[in-house]
Assembly symmetry: C2
Homo-oligomer: 196 residues x 2
Amino acid sequence: MDTENFLVDYFSQYITLSEEEVQLIKNEDIIRKYEKNDILLREGQIAKECFLVLKGCVKRYYLEDGEERIMEFYTEYDPINPASYVNKEPSEYYLSCLEPCIISTGTEERTQRFLQKFPRFIPIFVKIGDSLSAKKQMFLDDFKNLPPEDRYQKLLATRPDLVNRVPQYMIASYLGIQPESLSRIRKRIWSNRKEP
Amino acid sequence: MDTENFLVDYFSQYITLSEEEVQLIKNEDIIRKYEKNDILLREGQIAKECFLVLKGCVKRYYLEDGEERIMEFYTEYDPINPASYVNKEPSEYYLSCLEPCIISTGTEERTQRFLQKFPRFIPIFVKIGDSLSAKKQMFLDDFKNLPPEDRYQKLLATRPDLVNRVPQYMIASYLGIQPESLSRIRKRIWSNRKEP
DNA sequence: ATACTTTCTTAACCCAAGTCAATGAATAGG
DNA sequence: CCTATTCATTGACTTGGGTTAAGAAAGTAT
């Protein structure tokens, strides 16, 4: 199985790896496979691991009156850094697999050991963290300023894959609207495409 | 002038300070006064300082077609950690004073020097950062799940002071609605209070 | 005080999203 | 293969926010 190469590919996006580094990553890394609907983290649990999605799709959500409120979708090469993992506090969210997934899990000590050995990776880790927080901020900005239809259009433009692999009612929840509304929005967009 | 004591008060919330620490904070700290409408940070600038509001009110906003989109209000004892300060990248936002302000400004080297001398403050800094990020997340959750009226009700409940010191049209922008709508919401709330 | 600016409110109209209910389409399980 | 469930669409209706425009109220300056 060559699932180990996913992680090497991931880091290669940012940096050129030496042979030694490749070997260490292959040895150190723990890669697990999950079934659809497997739960990575439950509300109330304290996360002992962070994740990197190598293949598949994960949703982060919480329950309100038994309803799932979806906060985020993670797909290929998206890192997942649960607040619970960072703070050592009970998680406010669930993480569960929407598809069969291949996921690399990180622990604190392993990361620390890794960064100690290859300090040149530190700025990359920082950069990844920064860009995550910037993305969150942008999402909030859009949410405040764009009406539901524009939010959907933006999602279509920026993450077109999501719309094809995720059920619409989850997309609706993610966009903060009802499934019926999303259905009508799609219809509206479709008819405007034909005769402008 | 005893403005120096603001900062001592701030840390005392979290930890009991020794006399030496109090002295150091008083010596090290730079406290500045600002006029209403003074700008702490402009879009495009790289922030060289972070802030702690000791007195007054600061807004964070950006411009869209010349319109202010308000993202956050900072008041007494709110720390301001601009993304631009953390990442050394041009700021996406403005920071400006809504009132005459007394603000403590922090620089990287000063913070580092301070934490080196008093490492027991490190967990406090981390905790403050965590709680900031948690607050942001909660705000987004509410924004997605609550209609404008409920958002305003929640603001009334959690930050009642804001509504009294900040112009309504800014509150409206912060809540992602038009000033006219906020006006109607207030009217609606008012009349429901009278005859239930 | 007066004039001027800024801020807040009201009204009228439109339209998009929420809600409830029914029907179709797609999927999963046996 | 058929059935049962889940998911998506559509319709009728209500509601609440956006928009435009006007005017009232509050704050500033002269």
